[in-house]
């Protein structure tokens, strides 16, 4: 169990190292990297299986007891997040395979993806605030490297914006961590939860936590501080932007969920503010998307609006709403990454990312049309795909909690999402190609990329039809989140020696 607990960090770390050693040979790097991420996926599934039976893995690094040493905790939510990271990580790496990119970049891309995964998985399983900061830095560094990968003016300019704003967010997080320690005397999330739940938290500790939530909000791209996301995602290399779209903002959302449920299990002022923020995020994000004319920009703005849904679930703070947030998180990661993947395929085939320059895919590539339709409909919340259940649970939760206006905004956002998804469909697929349908590339590109899109689409469908068990898992996870017994027991746990 000691090994299983640390594997989500060690596996990508080791893979990264081996890739570094094998750096000269792309084939070796690819092999190592694919094996490594497959193992990560297996570990993630193992963890989910383990957690689904009600087990919580936790341990003290270096055997130092809890408020002093660093704790790691894997509960249902963490396990699911690790598993989904494995899915998207593997998907991205497979998609990358044989993409038209200089081999030295391809080689480095493998490396950085594993660096990113190390940070992401670390952030998902740690129960220590400063440790969380460190993992944030790791994933940030990995993402910096990836977003600038391939070079070029546009990409570099995007990287610049991304870099400065994310650095600022991380530095704020660091400051907040220092302040929280200074005000509460602990870095351990379990002990912090005990302090806050018993009402002994000092006012300045609350303030520190607020700053931390602000930092997470920037990371998670909430209104009004999401500006960095639509300014950078669309210029990155396609597999990179898919990876980011799937996983990156979700780390911020995860951290928000984790911290808020730990410290304030019952609704309060923080939840009220989050509710407003969530609704504003949904609406502004989706309106922003409606204004776009390029496929990846539309999708980028939709990330923002979708994050709003998750935060809505968090803000409502009922078990059902939290379960909705968890389910939404999982569903969204798969769907959003897949849409970016498919968007990449579509723009490659049509030779343009601008909707005006795309077209003719409906006739030329019906398979791609089907592949696009599945995640797009899911995103728009069309039943019985996963997105429908995710939205339904949140709408029901907000209506049950008496927040009809929040449900209204969620539904309105859904309607505009339909509009912008059908816009892509209309322009890129239905409409004939502006240069005649012969302008659609005959070459489909690497098959692995199609495979990834197909597998992810299949997962969306399965998650929709099998919503029963998945929802049950999310429900249990949400109960676990507010109960947080594994976390609350941490400080009492004695170290080995």
């Amino acid at each position: 169990m000691n090994l299983l607990l640390i594997l989500p960090i060690l596996l990508p770390l080791t893979t990264l190292m081996l890739c570094l050693l094998a750096r000269r040979r792309l084939a070796w790097v690819t092999l190592i990297s694919l094996v490594g991420s497959t193992l990560l996926l297996i570990t993630g599934l193992w963890l989910v299986w383990f957690a689904a039976q009600g087990n919580v893995l936790s341990g003290q690094m270096g055997s130092w007891q809890a408020p002093y040493g660093i704790s790691l905790v894997i509960d249902r939510l963490s396990a699911a997040m690790v598993a989904i990271s494995g899915v998207i990580g593997l998907g991205t790496l497979v998609y990358m395979h044989r993409q038209p990119m200089a081999s030295e970049f391809l080689r480095d891309a493998h490396l950085f993806v594993h660096g990113l995964l190390t940070g992401i998985c670390g952030a998902f399983i740690t129960a220590d605030i400063f440790n969380l900061y460190v993992w944030f830095e790791v994933l940030l560094m990995g993402s910096f490297a990836l977003i600038s990968l391939g070079g070029g003016q546009r990409r570099l300019a995007g990287a610049m914006t991304y870099l400065v704003l994310n650095l600022l967010a991380t530095l704020l997080f660091l400051l907040a961590a220092g302040l929280v320690y200074g005000a509460s005397g602990t870095l351990n999330m379990g002990e912090l939860a005990l302090i806050f739940r018993s009402g002994e938290a000092t006012t300045s500790a609350t303030l520190g936590v607020t700053l931390m939530l602000l930092a997470f909000s920037i990371k998670g791209a909430l209104f009004p501080v999401f500006g960095w996301l639509p300014a950078s995602y669309h210029v990155a290399w396609v597999p990179v932007s898919a990876l980011f779209a799937g996983l990156l903002t979700k780390v911020g959302v995860y951290a928000l969920i984790r911290l808020v449920t730990l410290l304030w299990p019952t609704p309060g002022l923080a939840h009220d503010i989050l509710l407003w923020v969530a609704c504003a995020t949904m609406l502004v994000g989706v309106l922003g998307a409606a204004a776009q004319t390029e496929i990846r920009r539309i999708l980028s703005f939709h990330i923002v609006s979708q994050v709003g849904y998750m935060v809505l679930g968090l803000a409502l703070a009922t078990p059902l709403a939290l379960a909705g947030a968890v389910f939404y998180l999982i569903h969204h990661i798969i769907v959003k990454a897949n849409l970016f993947f498919i968007g990449g395929l579509a723009s490659r085939l049509t030779g343009s990312e601008r909707l005006a320059g795309m077209g003719g895919l409906y006739a030329a590539r019906p398979l791609l049309a089907v592949l696009f339709a599945i995640p797009a409909l899911s995103l728009a919340g069309i039943p019985p795909l996963s997105g429908f259940w995710a939205k339904l649970i949140l709408i029901r939760a907000s209506l049950e909690a008496g927040f009809g206006w929040a449900a209204f905004i969620a539904l309105l956002t859904g309607a505009i999402t339909v509009l912008s998804m059908s816009k892509i469909w209309n322009e890129a697929f239905l409409k004939p190609h502006p240069n005649g349908d012969q302008a659609v590339q005959a070459d489909n590109g690497p098959r692995s990329a199609w495979l990834v899109a197909a597998v992810l689409a299949l997962m969306t469908v399965l998650l929709g039809f099998g919503a029963g068990p998945a929802m049950e898992y999310a429900w249990q996870a949400s109960l676990q989140l507010t109960e947080a017994s594994a976390y609350l027991q941490l400080p009492a746990k004695e170290g080995a020696p």
Binding site: A157, L167, L175, L179
Partner: protein, 143 residues
């Protein structure tokens, strides 16, 4: 000392933000450093530096008189991380100057909002080379 640290950290943070709002990328990058230094100082101050001696255990030293070592360890970690990020920012700066040939923030970042160029594989963009007139003016280098 607490308020000295607090005021210094706060002022440096303000200066850092001010520099990040500058029109020149160089100063933006320096602003990151200043802001990160401010945050480091803030973390150390928030963790208190009460105590007369550094946290070294030696025979005969009163443990109660030692300063809190934890914030120091945290700040040390943060400094090194900050340095790594600074270097990366610096290399972005360098590369930006090489590719864009200018250091004006708004002009550089505005490129992101231009429509996506057509007919491009999503791989390496063209234009990764320097124009002749932007090369290093120092002649001695090519010897």
């Amino acid at each position: 000392m607490e308020w000295v640290a607090a005021v210094t950290a706060g002022s440096m943070a303000g200066l850092g933000i001010w520099m990040m709002l500058d029109q020149h990328l160089i100063r933006v990058v320096l602003g990151i450093t200043v802001f990160s230094n401010a945050v480091n100082l803030g973390v150390l101050a928030a963790g208190r530096h009460v105590g007369e001696a550094p946290a070294f255990i030696a025979p005969g030293v009163d443990a109660a008189a030692l300063v809190n070592p934890l914030p120091q360890a945290l700040v040390l970690t943060a400094i090194v991380i900050g340095f790594a990020l600074f270097v990366f920012a610096l290399s972005i700066l360098k590369r930006t100057y090489e590719l864009h040939g200018k250091n004006d923030t708004d002009q550089v970042t505005a490129v992101v909002e231009q429509p996506a160029p057509d007919g491009q594989e999503n791989g390496v963009e063209q234009g990764g080379t320097l124009d002749v007139d932007e090369r290093d003016p120092s002649a001695g280098e090519r010897e």
